[in-house]
Amino acid sequence: MKSNNKKKGMELFINIFPFISLIVVFVGFALLSGGRTLDITNCRKIFEQSFTLLLVAGAAVFLLSQNCLDMSVGAVIGMTGVVAALVSKINIPLAFAAALGVGVLIGLINGILHGVLGINAMIATLAMSFILRGLLLIVCKSGTVGIAVKMYDLDQVGLKMAVCVVFLVGAWLFFQFHSYGKQCRAVGAGETAAVQSGIHIAFIKIISYVFMGAAAGIAGFFTVIRTGAAMYNTGNMAEFDILIALILGGMPINGGADSKFRSAVIGVLILGILNNGMVLLGLDTYPQLITKGIIFILVLAMTFTIRNKINRDKKMA
């Protein structure tokens, strides 16, 4: 039975590894910055800076657990941001509804393109992001679209904290306990077998892309509140930040049964602390990027090789 507790040891390591990285990053920066990162206002700032990424990463867990990707998240945040800015001149709640609606619509299109027409998820969403970036350039004539001044007072931390907690807890409940979440993971673990267990694959995929679009819509709305205006490069590269955050949070790369919702929360926090800490230490742009690259590769190597070993053991055992 030796191989059994070896396997258990590795599984335990894989589960707690994201927590270790979070603690290491948190403590590391606290020491290096002489306690400045622990300052309340700074922590509030870290939360505010990673608020929108938390939303979209949460929704992305559903997609990645089905081994699907959405390369258009950044463009959707940009587009919904512009829509929110334009409509906010009329009235704010309508602006929120418009942003959500546009996000859901684009999500639906993505879902149909991949779920029904069967186009490869990456290519379909990459093309969609190309189209959306083009539309964005036209809508704001490659400049900025300002938001109504009244919208600024929406920018309190309390509101954001509430929205974030409600969204994350809701998503966690759905992912962990609802049959929809379980079906997502089953699709990721084995699509053909999932079909024969009565899972309507196209339906699950469309729902997940719509949910992703909705999250991007909300993120777009709050991004615009934070920056005061939507620009043609708003939300740029959000899809890659999501991917990095989820992997830092310990999410298996091709989804499946091991996917955990918490990897979104932990991953985004690690990324938030990292970005904030490096600026705090006055690191230049390029050293920052190199550090991010090194950490990403190390975490990747660690989790991927060990997870492979566990799976291989499972097959062989």
Binding site: L113, L117, A124, I131, G134, I138, P287, L300
Partner: protein
Amino acid sequence: MNKKISNSIVVVMVPIALYLFFLILRPKSFGKINTIYIIFTQSFITCMIAWGMQYLAKMGEFDLALGAEMILDSIIAALLSTRFGFLGMIAGCLLSALICGILKGVLYRVMKIPIMILTIALIYLLGSFGGLITNSAALTISYEYTFLGRAPGNVIVFLLTGILMYFLANKSVYGSNVNAVAGAPGISRNNGISVEKTKIRSLLLSSMFAGIAAIVQLSHGSGVTPSVGLDSIQNIMQPMMSVFIGFVMAQYVNVVFSIFVGSILMSIISNGITALNWSSAIYNIVVGAILLLIMAYMNVAKVYSKKHEEKMSAIANMKEMNMSNV
């Protein structure tokens, strides 16, 4: 033999039709030979990168670090050109491409991470390494080193690369291995083809092709600025689109030629839009829309033809049954 010719005519008709579309809209500026010449030369760089990418893309892998790599190659080339002149530039570019390719191959072999995820991490490393060397200042090369960026230099480089690509893709053992692994990795492995070695060679090749393209790009623009973060992915969007369009047309004609036609298409659209003075945002929309349409058409056609085939054999069964009953 005529089947091959009729196929290639069909494929060539697509860019011609698109060209005529813009010609009708803007006869004055689009009718000149010069425009056609520019359409061709502007497609060279995209096509060379696309050629390099097609091996990995065929096996379902995406190398997103090529953009950052090309910028790094150009930076090293510009730095070396100041001290060692033209040869220094060429050597610098190709050497840097080689090292990046080897680095990717080793990392993939050691860590066995999916290539797309690995290359995203490498964008940060390679991109920022370029920034560190020049401490984020722009570099330029002096005019006498730039003859590869204009006729006849770029045409010669392009043709040589095309010939190399043709032999590599169709005539070499490596090329047939790539097709086999792309078709069925399992069967290829059983027949002694190492899937991993093929992928590592493809990583190296995509870097080398990108290195050659970087030389022409540096000579054409004469300047390079270090990239920040993941922005360099934008630079390889156009080649990626040409690869996908090329794969669609590869059923009718050789993949090397179909990818070239794909990059010509992109070049016609971008020049057409400049001629009409529309904002180049339209370029993004048009290219994205074309790609979606083609991919949707391809998938639906595949599903439909399978259903049709089944329908046909079912009808045949029915006829047979009626005959035997009657």
